[in-house]
Subunit: 379 residues, 4 copies
Amino acid sequence: MPKKIRLGILGGGGDSLIGVLHRVASHINDNYQIVGAVFNPDFEQNMAFAKEIDIPTDRIYKDFDTLIEEEMKLPKDERIQVCSVLTPNFLHFPMAKKLLENGFHVICEKPMTTTLEEAKILEETHKKAGTVFALTHTYTGYPMVRQMREMIKAGALGKIHKVDARYYQGWINPIIHDKEKRSSVWRLDPKKAGISSCMGDIGVHAFNLVEYTTGLEVKSLLCDFNYLYDDNQMDVDGTVLIRMGEHVKGVIRGSQVATGEENGLAIAIYGEKASFRWEQEKPNFLYMMSDTEPTKVYKPGHAYNSEFSLDGTKLPAGHPEGIFDSMANIYLGAARAIRGEEQNDGAFPTMRDGVRGMNFIEATVESHKNGNTWVDLED
Amino acid sequence: MPKKIRLGILGGGGDSLIGVLHRVASHINDNYQIVGAVFNPDFEQNMAFAKEIDIPTDRIYKDFDTLIEEEMKLPKDERIQVCSVLTPNFLHFPMAKKLLENGFHVICEKPMTTTLEEAKILEETHKKAGTVFALTHTYTGYPMVRQMREMIKAGALGKIHKVDARYYQGWINPIIHDKEKRSSVWRLDPKKAGISSCMGDIGVHAFNLVEYTTGLEVKSLLCDFNYLYDDNQMDVDGTVLIRMGEHVKGVIRGSQVATGEENGLAIAIYGEKASFRWEQEKPNFLYMMSDTEPTKVYKPGHAYNSEFSLDGTKLPAGHPEGIFDSMANIYLGAARAIRGEEQNDGAFPTMRDGVRGMNFIEATVESHKNGNTWVDLED
Amino acid sequence: MPKKIRLGILGGGGDSLIGVLHRVASHINDNYQIVGAVFNPDFEQNMAFAKEIDIPTDRIYKDFDTLIEEEMKLPKDERIQVCSVLTPNFLHFPMAKKLLENGFHVICEKPMTTTLEEAKILEETHKKAGTVFALTHTYTGYPMVRQMREMIKAGALGKIHKVDARYYQGWINPIIHDKEKRSSVWRLDPKKAGISSCMGDIGVHAFNLVEYTTGLEVKSLLCDFNYLYDDNQMDVDGTVLIRMGEHVKGVIRGSQVATGEENGLAIAIYGEKASFRWEQEKPNFLYMMSDTEPTKVYKPGHAYNSEFSLDGTKLPAGHPEGIFDSMANIYLGAARAIRGEEQNDGAFPTMRDGVRGMNFIEATVESHKNGNTWVDLED
Amino acid sequence: MPKKIRLGILGGGGDSLIGVLHRVASHINDNYQIVGAVFNPDFEQNMAFAKEIDIPTDRIYKDFDTLIEEEMKLPKDERIQVCSVLTPNFLHFPMAKKLLENGFHVICEKPMTTTLEEAKILEETHKKAGTVFALTHTYTGYPMVRQMREMIKAGALGKIHKVDARYYQGWINPIIHDKEKRSSVWRLDPKKAGISSCMGDIGVHAFNLVEYTTGLEVKSLLCDFNYLYDDNQMDVDGTVLIRMGEHVKGVIRGSQVATGEENGLAIAIYGEKASFRWEQEKPNFLYMMSDTEPTKVYKPGHAYNSEFSLDGTKLPAGHPEGIFDSMANIYLGAARAIRGEEQNDGAFPTMRDGVRGMNFIEATVESHKNGNTWVDLED
């Protein structure tokens, strides 16, 4: 393994949860070293946080533009190689764009942009840049998710004819039911949070999981949102009918008002020969069902798994790995790509996933606004 | 307890599964005695079956009309009091109608009729008859289903804002994927099986469970079927968006091609204060979730359950009861009604459930046919 | 199928739970008809109960001896053929003995007797009688328990080297922790309840399950009881080390003070090639584990199950059957034996199981009393 | 937070699994920086590994003694502060001893030593040294294990009267059943592996978990091993009866031949008022049972948990953390201790746990050798 990759961090300071997740994930496989950052728009807090986690402060910059400017002055073999973009959603696009334009690799939180239009511009920018762009749809890093993908690719389910995904949370309940709160939080303000809350924040993960595991693309969708209150402007719940091909249908269910649900992402994929069921909160258990045989419970770390799945497991079977490890697998994929190493297809979500995701979000909003009509996704 | 109720059986002979289910259920609480029957349209098989299960053969009739005719000749205190209608679907309506018109009580398998129009006629007949009509939506008999209903009624969830029900099976897979078979079985022939396969057979159970547990009524729905093959004329899979009131929405998912699923009826009900999750294949475990407390696992037979739930449990906690016991609870409810005893509301599904169910089935078909538009259910 | 078997019931009146269980089980497969009984030592209550469940009262007898006397006067083809003995434990032996001596078949609750000595006498009586004797170790009737037995017999686990069974309940907690109650209830009075509470009541079920499923016999055991209080004279908890052969060892754990446990019978059987795990409270899920393949989940009603297992399932997969159905399978086995039909080995627990069980109970008591030494069971 | 703690690593090079676990755990909370190491006794491999994970090579030493010697020459504020001892078991004692004698803090893998005698010597050394000694009984770091400990301490279970722990694995099966292999692997050679395989390697974890969660100490034990073959000299399976006080009893079950089990550590603790059940392979689900209320499912990250439990959770509820995170919590506790910060009791297993563990292991061996007699543990 060559030298650690020089990593810059944008956002994720203070007690940011996404910050911890990315930082830990970058460490797990001994691939990255944080060399520069703008953890926080407030420089004092920025520096304080760098000290708190004991990162050298000489390359802690006062803002993103300064980071670019100063890093570009450094010789290539000292310069930050890749930046993790963990800033508020509306900053993903301009930051990722500028990074790519300046030859940096990018690891970007989702949603990739705030509109499909931006996503396509970014896609163009990326094509020209030729650097690595990884989108952190974290859940694709789980060994059992990868096992689904590989087995489906190998034909284990036969032709798929039905997909059922859900992402249920309940955390927005105390906000949405409080008139005061629901009219003041940024999460429910379209000007700040973008066009969709439930679909933009979590529905898109379920959508990505559907496409990632099945290898199929959603062709069209019909969506119905629930706003819960007349004075609420953002979807906090919704159900999406999807069509993925001739007689291949499914449903994506999202909710932020599913009381008591924590982080309830789950998927069921039904094929002609067999099926899969998987739940994010029990990530190390993958159920394969058929009409004629006992249900099989796949678990990580066993020799019966695919190489790609095993690549993402660091410990023997029975030693539970969790979401840090899933994200770490995406960072590992990005590292190999940055180093130009060959690796398994699907090692990290790409620009294509980002464009698809924005297309999905916009289509759900359009469908709902049109009175629950079918909306085609772009090819 | 007075004398056992004199029960007649229509259908359910030979190795009929529904026959076993009803027969056992009628025995479980020592309430019924089978005194007459037309188990089978073939008289020889009819008699043979009566002998097989050792029922006196003197009131085994050659057909339904003869049963009515002969029983009416008997004095009231010898005559069959209630008939269980277990015949093919298209016979439910004419038999139930004639039974009611002649003053019999009726226990009827679902679907109650083949059309909503018939259902309404039957409803009128029933009003005039004044006898007991019980529809065997079996799953409403489970103690934990009844516990949901009672707790919701008592306000344990607060205002309900989302309902998610599913009924997934995979048994039709080997038929549907075989061109020969799918064009020949009666289950996929609209002339024989009625207008809907998946919704008519199982979706309607999920619909009934939604209304039974929440006490809410579905106001309108939008449905998308999957036929899997161009030459297949019956829905074998479908997703139904539902609206139950101002900002109360949900989804009912049905499938007969969900490979490897056995009898996967399940429901999740999300309220402002708390939620329920329950699965038919693990009927003795009811999960109550909230945003602030540990999830609670309710089980039958505990003093913390409602009286209505406890009424349906015969053994101490930890002694699993199953679907026979669930059906037995419905038979128990019917028995008490026949005897004119007061009892808990919801003790058995009624004519109203039957009319609602047919309305649901027809609405799903209409919605799909119209290109997935919203269809209102009648009040 | 010939005429229903004429069944007599001893005990099980009023709100007796064991009474319901046996009565329902006898009905389930249309094999038995209750024709006579002594439900209760109080004749008034006896008659009242017969009326409550609407049984003809002409053969409701004032006591057991009268039942024998009067029935023996009846011609053989009217006489009770088999009696279910559901009376308090100390009556099992004298009643079963007299029944056998008079040519009746017997279905007997466990524990079969109160001492091993009685058990052996009964064994001798039974040999002479030549009638059917079935002991209701209810849990052996579950389809998945039978599946374990058949697969083990067929070699699916290879050589077994470890067995781990448990039966945990918590119901005695409120009694044992109350000084007043624990010194007054009959369950904790050795004069009334026999020599053992925990092992005699539930441990013996776990022991029976071990021998029934593995086909191995326990050769010797070492036991440690827990009495919880100095003034308590009966075991309410205990752990038993067992040896079943050269290098075949295991453990049986029993408790009536396992707070919050309901009816927690479970078994794990580890073989050279594979293993089983099964829990009574989720009786329809059998887990087969191996070191090299995904864990397999066996469920009832599938064609992949053994004939013997399938024989005990009346409904398609996914329709949960419970403990009534398990007991019904034992009644079915007894019926076939009474009719002289050939059937699968293991169709019901036998006299041998009863003798073994009493040997087990006495050995645990002896081992504990001796300061936790090894005690051999008889061959 | 002050500067990162300077960490040295002994062992854990190459594809060592324990190496990954400790390295990742040390990174997770941004507390440690690896500054020196002897990853491997072979200096070439040692250096190669340092390069592979991109650690500066200037303080990669040729052996442990050199590390001590060279580091002692450095000024205190550059010197390694704490060493993680991940070497083969027999080296734990001499290395930990020398480290403590030279004023280093120590994080030590278990078993702490190979004999109780060594353990006591180390205890003395540690008392004199006054530095921090943390033993990595990894499982004590799980938030739900900590929740059990805190709730028990607060009296949630009332008086505990029964404890049942198990640690079942199946990995040694392919070795033990192969005559060739079982006589050649170091794991089954008492000269290399110490006096116990199953109890020394995993049983001791279960023992530690029992004492850690309940706050009780095992007073005496009785143990029966299973060797499976006459020519095998090491326990690969065993059951241990334990006594923890007046009428407080329990059982610890260990196995390395439990076919198909992966890393099956589990515990059930039964108290007068309530009970806990927890399994390592589903570490984020803690079940609290009582005789009168629905079972409660505790999960990490909720406000209802104790402060100590919450301190070990980095992400919101529903984002599964695993064994890396558990170990990271122990490293966090050690870091705080090294910095002299106050913290919750139980933040990491201590010298006392190590001495207790060795006492347990030796006692099991003695009990088995003596023919399964009771052996007292030291106070």
